[in-house]
């Protein structure tokens, strides 16, 4: 079913000169980016630089004002919701706040994409749900409701739901934000495991540099809606561009400090 040919060098996802504006705010400003199969690309940048917006463009939740988005040789930014369905079935999206349906149990959440799309019998769905829950290390929690589990568990359930249909691409929107360092590392390991075992192409939006260095094959840095750096993780450790340095080392810039003193 899934065709993740490792020899295929064509980009799986391509953004061509994508711009997006919300009111007076230019969130994306001519972004060009192509993502190869089987690679995990990490998108970093300060809050509000358009990282999540970038992800939502690729899955069609937002439409660009100008520019093109291509997925596996097909232009997708012009498709309507109905035509996007087959594309979206090949993608999984882990939302920042997990976005589990609180009217359903954990098991129903994970099985939801299968119930909607697969046409499998309930017993078969339960089987796949159990398998996915095992993959994220949460066997046996199917009957709980999202309100009864912790934040870290919610993210893992959401991940199980995102991979229920065995997607080729998984989008991770700040997967480690709000988790303690140990639980954050569990998520990192899971991202690596999905790449290793299922050859999933991953796009991780984060501002957690530990996570970025651990899971990324490649790191892209966004600043004010533009890509200012695009390289392998090691480059970021040694690069001397002040904007990159400040972010990677987590230091406030001089102007922020001056504002504090004046205040």
């Amino acid at each position: 079913m899934r065709v993740a040919k490792k020899t295929d060098n064509r980009p799986l996802i391509e953004l061509r000169n994508v711009s997006k504006r919300f009111g007076a705010l230019q969130v994306l400003d001519g972004v060009d980016l192509s993502l190869r199969r089987g690679e995990t690309t990490v998108v970093i940048g300060e809050s509000g630089t358009g990282k999540s917006v970038l992800l939502k463009h690729i899955i069609g939740l937002l439409r660009p004002d100008s520019g093109e988005i291509w997925f596996d040789g097909q232009r997708i930014d012009t498709l309507n919701e109905q035509s996007l369905v087959p594309i979206r079935r090949r993608m999984g999206f882990l939302f920042q706040m997990a976005a589990l349906f609180d009217s359903m149990t954990v098991g129903e959440n994970v099985g939801f994409p299968l119930t909607e799309h697969s046409g499998l019998k309930p017993a078969q769905i339960d089987e796949i749900v159990a398998e996915k829950m095992k993959m994220v290390g949460l066997t046996g929690l199917q009957d709980r409701t999202p309100g009864q589990i912790s934040g870290g568990q919610k993210k893992r359930v959401a991940l199980a739901r995102a991979i229920a249909l065995d997607p080729e691409v998984v989008f991770y929107d700040e997967p480690t934000t709000g988790l303690d360092p140990v639980r954050a590392d569990v998520i990192n390991e899971m991202i690596l495991k999905l790449k290793r075992e299922l050859q999933v192409t991953g796009i991780v939006v984060t501002h957690d540099m530990v996570s970025a260095f651990k899971v990324g094959d490649r790191i892209v840095m966004l600043n004010k809606g533009r890509i200012i750096a695009d390289a392998v993780p090691d480059w970021f450790r040694t690069c001397d561009d002040p904007r990159v340095r400040r972010f990677v080392d987590g230091r406030a810039d001089k102007e922020d400090l001056r504002a504090l003193e004046v205040g």
Partner: protein
């Protein structure tokens, strides 16, 4: 300001169009039926008590207001005509609609609004599920069909309330009371109340779902959306009532001629 209003109206009509498309598609696809059942329970069964109480008080209040006036001209036996006609034709449908706009509309806006701000609606779309089909169509469908059904209950308890005050408390003879009611209240009056309530149900369902679907982020956004949804539904129900009353009155006069109540 004007541009914003036109923008919102445009969005609302697109939303309405999509909802009606999925409502008609939904009925013919069995997999959508299971989405409808919980909504029918929520909108219909759970609203029954408040709707019946609303109806009963409406009937009782009209009777209390009317009885002195009718007695003063010695025509208290004709009470039934005015009380039951008001209930069936006007106050039953309108107050049931407004009650539902508060009870159901508020809940729908809050539910969809919360789903919106916690990215659950985006999650549905990301999984290739159309949120209008999945969330909105069954809710609006439930409002559309159950508002008239609930209005019938409000009409019934309204008539009972009017009878209670007139016959039991004020001692008006029951025989003439019901005879005059039968003369005054025609089948067309009952239908016109029910026809109105179909419109009220569709309006309150669409307005409430739309407000939740496009609410601003945060708890404040959801709260504001609920208030806006209720106020808008209330006014739209009253405006629709005015327009439909006019149209239905013309139809009745055209087909059945003018009928005097007194």
């Amino acid at each position: 300001m004007l541009r914003r209003t036109i923008d919102i109206l445009g969005d609302f009509f697109v939303f309405t169009g999509q909802t009606f498309y999925w409502m008609t598609r939904g009925v013919t696809h069995r997999k959508n039926w299971r989405l409808l059942t919980p909504q029918l329970y929520e909108v219909g069964y759970k609203s029954l008590p408040v709707i019946m109480i609303t109806g009963a008080f409406v009937g009782m209040v009209i009777a209390v207001q009317a009885v002195e006036q009718f007695r003063a001209i010695g025509m208290e036996e004709r009470m039934g005509s005015i009380v039951n006609l008001s209930v069936v034709r006007e106050l039953g449908p309108v107050l049931a609609g407004i009650m539902l706009a508060g009870r159901i509309g508020g809940a729908l806006t809050a539910e969809l609004g919360t789903m919106n701000v916690t990215e659950q609606i985006d999650a549905l779309r990301s999984m290739g599920v159309n949120p209008i089909r999945y969330l909105v169509a069954p809710r609006v469908l439930a409002c559309f069909f159950l508002t008239p059904a609930l209005t019938l209950f409000a009409d019934f308890t309204g008539a009972m309330g009017g009878w209670f005050v007139s016959v039991i408390l004020e001692g008006i003879a029951p025989g003439p009371y019901w005879d005059y009611t039968q003369q005054a209240v025609t089948t067309f009056d009952l239908y016109s109340g029910i026809i109105k309530s179909f419109f009220f149900g569709a309006a309150l369902g669409l307005i409430s779902c739309y407000s939740g679907f496009y609410c601003k982020p945060g708890a404040e956004g959801v709260g504001r959306a609920c208030t806006a949804a209720f106020v808008t539904s209330f006014i739209v129900i009253l405006a629709l009532d005015f327009m439909l009353a006019q149209v239905l009155q013309d139809i009745q006069t055209a087909f059945f001629g003018f009928q005097s109540l007194l």
